[in-house]
Symmetry: C2
Subunit: 333 residues, 2 copies
Amino acid sequence: MQKEIPVANANSKKRVLVTGGAGFIGSHFCDRALALGNEVVAFDDLSTGKELFLSAALKNPLFRLVRGDIRNLEELQKTCSEFQPDLIAHFAANADVRHGLERPRRDLDYNTIGTWNVVEAGRLSGCKNLIFSSTGSVYGEPEIFPTPEECPFPVQTSLYAASKLAGEAILSAYALGYQMNVTVFRFVSILGPRYTHGHIFDFVKALRRNPKKLRILGNGLQLKSYLHVDDLMDGLWMVIQNGMQAYQVLNIGHDDALIVNRSVGYILNELKLEPEREYTGGERGWVGDSPRIQLATAKLKAKGWAAQRTLEQAVRETVRYLQSEPGLFEENS
Amino acid sequence: MQKEIPVANANSKKRVLVTGGAGFIGSHFCDRALALGNEVVAFDDLSTGKELFLSAALKNPLFRLVRGDIRNLEELQKTCSEFQPDLIAHFAANADVRHGLERPRRDLDYNTIGTWNVVEAGRLSGCKNLIFSSTGSVYGEPEIFPTPEECPFPVQTSLYAASKLAGEAILSAYALGYQMNVTVFRFVSILGPRYTHGHIFDFVKALRRNPKKLRILGNGLQLKSYLHVDDLMDGLWMVIQNGMQAYQVLNIGHDDALIVNRSVGYILNELKLEPEREYTGGERGWVGDSPRIQLATAKLKAKGWAAQRTLEQAVRETVRYLQSEPGLFEENS
């Protein structure tokens, strides 16, 4: 359809704007961008992001944190027009998949309208390169495993996934219509240091309150796919440095997957606990929970990427991180 | 996934809210709903819709026109809470596919946020049934023709299609999350009386200004799929009366398709004109124009529907209608 637009000076230093730059994944992305010598602005409203995660970055003269909200186009425009980014890494999002039905406008505001605001501000400032954190949840309940990017047209089962799919669609129309390079990554659940959101967090938090009993949503047999955040960074940066195209969609996830009971086993082993397990039952943890996510990653592997860390390592390292930062539980309780 | 929720009193009279009810398709839907004895409220901001199209409906005591904007949740909520619809037929949209890149926020506002507003207002009023006019454009540039609903996960090529896909995704998450029956219809271009938007309109309008020369976007070989609005109504009402399900997606279009040059031939023949034809060239009329749309309709046909009118009939009847309503050109010029 469209010819590849080379990233300006692909291997030279770039100005990189990271939305959600104070969050779990965004802050790792900032650190990696700085380690590669780039100039970085993190744009974050600090609603779930934390300055704690940027303690190293904040000491770097090439780094700046701008407090702003992606729901506000003007704030984004101001930042883009001052900073003139070469690349936007758009991670800011509402990542609470489970409670979408209680606040049905939230996913639309942050993940759909927010994504439109980000790409529009980028376009108006002349930025030609953008990467986006989408989700394997956009496959709904697929019938093909592992699920390739071109699987049959899916049906959305959560407001979260619907809002991310909408973000993808907007970016794709922008890429074609305004000649931008956009890479959409469909993530599995990401684990590792600074992880503060999701069921591993919830399990550890629950066990801190009551180490004798653990309530598990569903039947414990839901198959969950994870990836260590360092493996994620390897993949994102490989594509940024070597493979940006007009528009592409790439799954990123581990070949392995864990049933919830197995993850719970690693968590309990790390914490040296043996609580009674209580299951709420059913194939799904909640309405819209996918009983199985496993992504085919042949497209990304063909570019030279492979995950280096096992899922057991990823879960255990996450639990150790959470134990080392007990303050995270107080803030979020 | 979800069990079918029967439409309350499927064959009895219903309260039907029609967004975009003064538009081309919406007004036909109102007429058919009234002919079947239902109580109807048309919700329309009259920005492109016309009271002219409702001249028969407005004489019916079972009909009411509410002037309102789907971008405004409160207006929709007020109407839903007063009227308590059993069924919402959501047609209100920005239907200008071609100029999306000039006003990139418009599709988001009307087709995505507007659709969220409509389904949210419906949910809050307890409405359990909704049909939605989506588009075959969500298939982007498919590789399978005719294109089935479950074709490979497409890439969006226009802001219009992206915004309609986003609407579909929101509705699907609502259907599952809040136990609503939602049927998404993916339309081809609809023709017939009250048609006031699209390339047949543009051709007739251009020929009224200059009958000696006709400028045709692209190379004239783009294959376009159409359907007569009466065939569309037959399909929508068959599903409403017999086949509403928790969530389903149904293509609706004619098995036949016309290249642009063929449609132009019928138009010129109706108008008895022989202008010089000037082609802008290329496979696409504009960025995001799909060189070929042809939808597989086996799913809808399996429910008993079939188009009764040929595309030649549809094009000719449309041209005759436009000739009978010259005022339409003045209003839109």
